[in-house]
């Protein structure tokens, strides 16, 4: 089992004719993902590497029975593309695009909260269920099938942790990159709920970072509602207040909210051990299994 995506997911790629969209569609297809359509306004009727392109997401969903979208549309047009995907409707929308203005995302978030669609991202590496399907830009070959769930705000940090998991024989059910922006569709609690309900996920790794209070909320959920053990990692212990550390969302406010200390303390309080290094997180997962 897995969460969000599997071999049966029927995927439409928004922005499939762009450089990134085209390249990653090829990579996703090679991995085994069932990409059934592309959606690009004005390009309906064309094909990209044999995949039919439609003018609208609704048209692609209707004609190809798509239930999932991956969005590679540039930031200035991405919010509109996300609203279109949410309206199609689909089960899952994964927004890879980085740099979507916050106010646009506030509107998208409002729309997403009125639908049953799972929105993942934006500014995320995607979602992968090893050996079944990958949505996004994750490097498929570091992942292996297994029983550890992973949820992370950061792309390359995910790769770092997955690489150690896999090299120590700990495969994954599904890995979800939820994205580094202040406003994201799926937060830690949403992903943890899905892992908790998945019988095959026997342990979860959660990679958080400074900024916001998502990790603290996740800690509350872990403490009160979760049976599946969770090991955590928090990036940004050395980040100074008031400085944005790359991700738009990774910033400690002047009042001290969003600090690594607060997140680590909350997780440990919830009996979710936090590693000082990525390797230590994998040690904790080994302890669980």
């Amino acid at each position: 089992m897995s969460i969000l995506v599997d071999a049966d997911s029927r995927v439409v790629v928004q922005g499939i004719t762009g450089g990134e969209g085209k390249f990653h569609t090829r990579q996703m297809t090679e991995y085994g993902t069932n990409v059934v359509a592309g959606a690009v306004p004005g390009r309906g009727g064309q094909e990209v590497d044999g995949t039919p392109v439609y003018d609208t997401v609704a048209g692609a969903a209707r004609a190809e029975d798509a239930d999932t979208s991956v969005v590679f549309v540039p930031p200035a047009f991405a919010a509109d593309a996300l609203l279109e995907a949410l309206d199609a409707p689909l089960d899952l929308v994964v927004a890879i695009t980085e740099g979507i203005p916050q106010q646009d995302m506030a509107t998208v978030y409002r729309k997403a909260s009125e639908t049953d669609t799972h929105l993942v991202g934006p500014n995320c590496p995607g979602v992968i269920t090893p050996d079944e399907a990958k949505l996004g830009i994750l490097p498929g070959d570091i992942f292996a099938d297994g029983d550890v769930g992973l949820v992370s705000r950061s792309g390359t940090l995910t790769y770092q942790v997955v690489d150690s998991l896999t090299s120590r024989g700990l495969g994954q059910t599904t890995a979800v990159g939820i994205g580094g922006d202040p406003i994201i569709g799926t937060d830690f609690v949403d992903a943890l709920e899905l892992f908790e309900a998945d019988p095959d996920t026997r342990a979860v790794v959660m990679c958080g970072e400074i900024g916001g209070e998502d990790e603290e909320e996740a800690a509350r959920y872990i403490g009160e509602r979760m049976d599946t053990p969770v090991a955590g990692f928090i990036a940004g212990r050395t980040a100074p207040p008031g400085k944005r550390m790359g991700h738009a969302g990774a910033i400690v406010s002047g009042s001290g909210t969003g600090t690594a200390e607060s997140k680590i303390a909350a997780l440990e309080e919830a009996s979710a051990p936090v590693g000082d290094t990525p390797e230590e997180v994998v040690d904790r997962v080994e302890d669980f299994l």
Binding site: M105, A106, Q160, E209, M245
Partner: protein, 380 residues
């Protein structure tokens, strides 16, 4: 992107929010003239984009031209939290009976804007928020409808603002929301919003942060960002398109992806070193980009060693290795030891390609960081 106080005040004044009379000047003599023009008492205020200027000695009250000269002499050229003060705003001081706080920001958890009003203005509002959260009234706004008049009124009355000025304060709150919305602000606040004995309200300070990701549709604000102050290295990194933050330590850091770079910083600290910077080189790592990143890191005199940590996803390790070799051969003398760790796609090929006359290669993130910390401490 944070606007200077004088820029934010101009935006506020154009939108109809009352601000004190003021002049922006860059020399001591101009400051004295400006003080004569705006009248006494006047405030001489450092224009640097950091909070807590008053406490740090960047704001002085003056009562005559000599005092204005002395204050400008002291403030111009001083460093506030690492930024040099090039300009001061000379402003008529407001005779107030009350100080309020009003602001609009994004509530990340709720995914919607929130307006905030408090009668506890004039002090560090974040300390108030931490110690007495109830002293700040928060009103969430549905971004699709925009702020309704009643929402502004509700926040103002519930905060306990005096009825005599409540209408004017609510109007300021609505104006701030309008600016927040129109100008793609992420944070906008007035602290303090002063109330005078005649029941007038005046914005004595102005804070406005604009979403960097929205500057493409805010050309005027983007232009004002170019008149930048502060750290030359940060400006240079910005020019090259890197996310860069300068820190106090001596271990330079280059990596890809915000989370992994932050983790590298944390590991430097964990192993007893001190990170000199955060630098996210982003996707791909062609020779030119690698060279630019190293140029920025080496330009920081305090750097004693550099750790270069790349996890290749779509980026291939062999390409990165060639980039590093090529970039480093461009230096006559490599200023500090460079430790490289490559992982992910084609990492093994990459490690073999790396020229070990130029760099030290380490197999894991942990060992690479430890080695760089050792180098920075002078061990070889």
């Amino acid at each position: 992107m944070k606007l200077h106080e004088h820029q934010a005040k101009e935006v506020f004044a154009d939108a109809g929010i009352p601000v004190p009379e003021s002049r922006l000047v860059a020399t001591v003599e101009e400051a004295a003239e400006a003080a004569e023009a705006v009248g006494y008492p006047a405030a001489v205020k450092a224009q640097v984009r950091v909070g807590g200027r008053g406490k740090a000695g960047g704001i002085e009250l003056v009562d005559d031209a000599d005092e204005a000269r002395a204050a400008a002499e002291e403030i111009l050229g001083m460093e506030l939290k690492g930024l040099r003060v090039d300009e001061v705003l000379v402003e008529a001081a407001v005779d107030f009976v009350d100080e309020l706080y009003v602001g609009v920001t994004m509530d990340r958890g709720a995914g919607e804007p929130v307006a905030m009003v408090s009668t506890r203005g004039g002090v560090d509002i974040e300390a108030v928020a931490a110690e007495e959260p109830d002293a700040i009234v928060r009103e969430g706004v549905d971004p699709v409808f925009g702020m309704q008049p009643y929402e502004a009124r509700k926040a103002v009355y519930e905060a306990g603002v005096d009825r005599a000025v409540a209408g004017d304060v609510a109007s300021v709150v609505r104006t701030l929301y309008g600016l927040w919305d129109d100008d793609d602000a992420t944070e906008i606040e007035v602290n303090p919003l002063m109330v005078t004995a005649d029941d007038e309200v005046v914005a004595a300070d102005a804070v406005m942060n604009v979403d960097d990701d929205a500057l493409f549709r805010q050309p005027e604000l983007a232009e004002s960002a170019e008149a930048t102050d502060g750290d030359n290295l940060e400006a240079k990194a910005d020019e090259y398109g890197f996310d860069y933050v300068r820190l106090d330590g001596d271990v330079g850091i280059v990596g890809n992806g915000a989370g992994l770079v932050m983790t590298t910083l944390d590991l430097v600290d964990y192993y007893g070193g001190a990170p000199a910077n955060f630098l996210d080189i982003g996707g791909g790592a062609k020779a030119e980009r690698v060279a630019n990143a190293l140029e920025v890191v080496f330009a920081d005199d305090s750097v004693e060693a550099v750790v270069f940590n790349i996890f290749g996803g779509i980026t291939r390790g062999d390409e990165v290795a060639r980039g590093i070799n090529e970039a480093l051969t461009q230096f006559d003398e490599i200023p500090t030891p460079v430790v490289v760790r490559l992982a992910g796609t084609n990492a093994e090929e990459g490690m073999e390609i790396l020229n070990t006359d130029l760099v030290t290669v380490e197999a894991t993130l942990e060992s690479a960081v430890q080695r760089a910390v050792d180098y920075a401490e002078g061990e070889t």
